[in-house]
């Protein structure tokens, strides 16, 4: 198996599926000749031409809206939003249109689009190139939200997203693009949307995370193992629909749960994770579910010192885990 980073995995997967199924096409800003500001589509324009790798005008609402229309017309569109922060002008198309198409038409129409959303901080992006926008969509039934952060998970879930009959927000952590490498499975490799993945088995406590925080949690778990504490690390992989089953099972096993996200605390996905587990595993919990998240600040500032002060670190996660383990 070849080793790729997350960005290469996204590119290779789009390439493979566009070769395999001509209904698949990509649209977005600079995705064509340029290859995308993240370089996610490098080479696609030359391989598939300007009608399947579409450089759109600077207009996100229409990027998603055109994708929706193309999906209704029988294509399988991948809409690239250049930075997740800019998906906000497409919220109406995503929530009013894509998420409700099947329901409102009583199953007569459906909307198989993928909206690729590069998100997350730690890249000196400042307030508008760092946001975690997932919680804005998390309360919308009809949407699916996936956030894989290993090259293999990216392949399995991007393929699943492309062929999923319903709209999928595909979250890509920008810091993971180059920093996270791993094996890239060949050929038809699929993962189910809606399943969390136990990335590390442990008996003493459970840490639930996604995105870069999941990798930090894995690192912290190794550190804690040296202290004789075995942490189970669960990668949500899919945020919506939430895989409550896997989370609750682990909580019942360890009795101590921590949820971590880079998004700010209030109204973050950690709230639903904590509430859901507590509802179903209350009697098994030795401690309240602990949340580690960014402070309630509008977004991540540009200055590196402020940026570091904003984003949860592996150290913070480790300290939280230790406290929880000792509870």
């Amino acid at each position: 198996m070849a080793v790729k980073n997350v960005l290469e995995a996204i590119r290779a997967t789009m390439f493979e599926e566009m070769e395999r199924d001509e209904r698949v096409f990509l649209l977005g800003q600079d995705v064509g000749r340029h290859g995308g500001v993240m370089n996610a589509s490098m080479g696609l324009y030359d391989a598939f031409g300007e009608e399947r790798v579409v450089d759109t005008p600077l207009a996100e609402s229409s990027i998603v809206g055109i994708a929706i229309g193309a999906a209704l017309g029988g294509l399988l569109p991948i809409a690239e939003i250049q930075f997740g922060d800019f998906v906000l002008s497409a919220v109406d198309q995503i929530i009013s249109e894509a998420a409700k198409m099947r329901y409102r038409s009583n199953n007569d129409f459906h909307c198989p689009i993928v909206v690729r959303v590069p998100y997350g901080g730690g890249i000196h992006g400042g307030l508008y190139h760092s946001q975690n926008v997932e919680s804005i969509f998390f309360s919308t039934p009809g949407l699916k939200i996936v956030a894989p952060t290993t090259p293999a998970d990216v392949k399995g879930l991007l393929r699943a997203a492309i062929y999923d009959p319903d709209p999928v927000i595909f979250m890509e952590h920008k810091l993971a693009y180059r920093s996270i490498k791993g094996e890239f499975p060949e050929g038809a490799y699929d993962l189910p949307i809606g399943k969390a993945d136990v990335k590390r088995v442990g008996k003493d406590l459970t840490v639930i995370a996604y995105g870069m925080m999941m990798h930090y949690a894995l690192g912290a778990a190794e550190q804690l193992a040296e202290e004789g504490i075995e942490t189970e690390v669960i990668d949500l992989c899919t945020l919506l629909p939430l895989d409550r089953e896997t989370l609750v099972a682990s909580a019942k096993k360890t009795g101590k749960v921590m949820v971590v996200h880079e998004d700010n605390l209030t109204g973050g996905i950690g709230a639903e994770v904590a509430a859901s587990i507590t509802e179903e595993a209350f009697m098994y919990l030795d401690a309240p579910i602990k949340r580690v998240a960014a402070p309630d600040i509008p977004s991540t500032p540009y200055n590196p010192i402020l940026e570091r002060a904003m984003i949860p670190t592996q150290e913070q996660i480790l300290i939280g885990m230790r406290e929880l383990a000792r509870f």
């Binding site: 001509e22 209904r23 096409f25 009608e51 399947r52 579409v54 759109t56 005008p57 207009a59 609402s61 229409s62 998603v64 809206g65 055109i66 994708a67 929706i68 229309g69 193309a70 999906a71 209704l72 017309g73 029988g74 294509l75 399988l76 569109p77 002008s89 109406d92 198309q93 009013s96 249109e97 409700k100 198409m101 099947r102 329901y103 409102r104 038409s105 009583n106 199953n107 007569d108 129409f109 459906h110 198989p112 039934p141 009809g142 699916k144 062929y163 999923d164 009959p165 319903d166 629909p241």
Partner: protein, 337 residues
């Protein structure tokens, strides 16, 4: 006696009589819907009386099942012309389980019917216009024949999605007819507070497409402009923005009181321009119709509409247990059609 405009435009006597009938039936549907609300049989409806001429004339240029049609909530004339049955329309008015548009989930007249290629419409306006571009893109990639037709009101022109859609359609010369039924009000907001320019057609030049403004209550003017636009689209020359100048005789919806913002004189003035009456005068002038047969057409229409309404009223409501169905695909749902 004047030349026969319908013949000049390639419409047979039968065509123009059928168009007349469809307009009359559309009018009867809304008149009935109005009664249904007033009598408390349904909680709400939207009425399009006065706009049937523009609707039916435009739809006459479309091919059901080939062209993608995105009609808006006043377009009873359009959906009837595309083949939606009176029973289907009335099932929607009553929000019944078998309503093909939404199974009773949407407010009446938010059309959608896959077999007829009528695309499911939401309430937020203008969001459908980028969909029209995407549908046209799909037709291009799939090398399908046909065009995309989308209608909307004058208020919709103010929305960002209108701009983003027409911009994209203009850049890529997409085969779309953008059909604005300008009735000069967005609920109470007059066109003068909605638009800095006197005609919606004045917007077209910004998108590198022709803008045509026609008397929306003159079926021939609307048909001619729509036909030219459709042919232009099929020739690969791109989109056209048509403004059909018309008027709604009724309040905005059954919840609205238009006396707050429209003078009765203004409404009366427009009622004298009723497209149905105007077409009747033409048909009579050319010996294609007389009062008696027109009365028969009207009473037949009313009978059919009433029958459909009574039938729909008795039709089953959705099962409350079905409220959770179709949030996501289930096993066996068709995909990627």
């Amino acid at each position: 006696m004047a030349t026969k405009r319908h013949i000049e435009l390639g419409l047979s006597d039968q065509d123009i009589l059928d168009m007349y009938k469809t307009m009359v039936v559309a009018r009867a549907v809304d008149d009935r819907a109005d009664i249904l609300v007033r009598s408390g049989k349904i909680p709400f409806t939207v009425l399009g009386q006065g706009q049937e001429g523009a609707q039916v004339a435009a739809a006459q240029t479309l091919v059901a099942g080939r062209d993608w049609v995105l009609p808006y909530y006043r377009d009873v004339g359009v959906v009837l012309a595309m083949g939606m049955s009176l029973r289907e329309v009335m099932l929607f008015e009553f929000g019944k389980a078998d309503d093909p548009n939404s199974g009773g989930r949407q407010m009446p007249k938010h059309w959608g019917h896959r077999r007829l290629r009528i695309v499911s419409q939401s309430s937020p306006v203008a969001t459908e216009l980028p969909h029209a571009c995407g549908l046209a893109w799909a037709m291009r990639l799939k090398k399908e024949e046909g065009i995309v037709w989308a209608s909307f009101g004058d208020g919709v022109v103010s929305k960002g999605d209108f701009h983003e859609a027409l911009n994209f359609a203009g850049i890529h010369k997409l085969p779309i007819v953008f059909f604005c039924e300008n009735n000069y009000y967005a609920i109470s907001v007059p066109f003068s507070k909605q638009s800095p320019v006197p005609s919606v057609a004045d917007r077209a030049s910004a998108y590198g497409m022709p803008g045509v403004s026609v008397d929306g209550n003159d079926v021939f003017a609307v048909y001619k402009a729509s036909l030219e636009a459709a042919e232009r689209a099929k020739r690969g020359e791109g989109s056209t923005l048509i403004e059909a100048r018309t008027y709604r005789f009724a309040p905005h919806t059954s919840n609205d009181d238009d006396r707050r913002y429209r003078s009765r004189e203004e409404v009366e003035k427009w009622k004298r321009l009723d497209p149905i009456a105007r077409l009747f005068a033409y048909l009579k002038e050319h010996g294609l119709l007389d009062e008696e047969r027109a009365a028969a057409i009207r009473s037949d229409a009313e009978k059919e509409v009433l029958e459909a309404a009574q039938w729909a009223e008795r039709a089953p409501d959705p099962d409350p247990a079905s409220v959770g169905a179709y949030v996501y695909a289930q096993e066996g749902d068709a995909h990627g059609r």
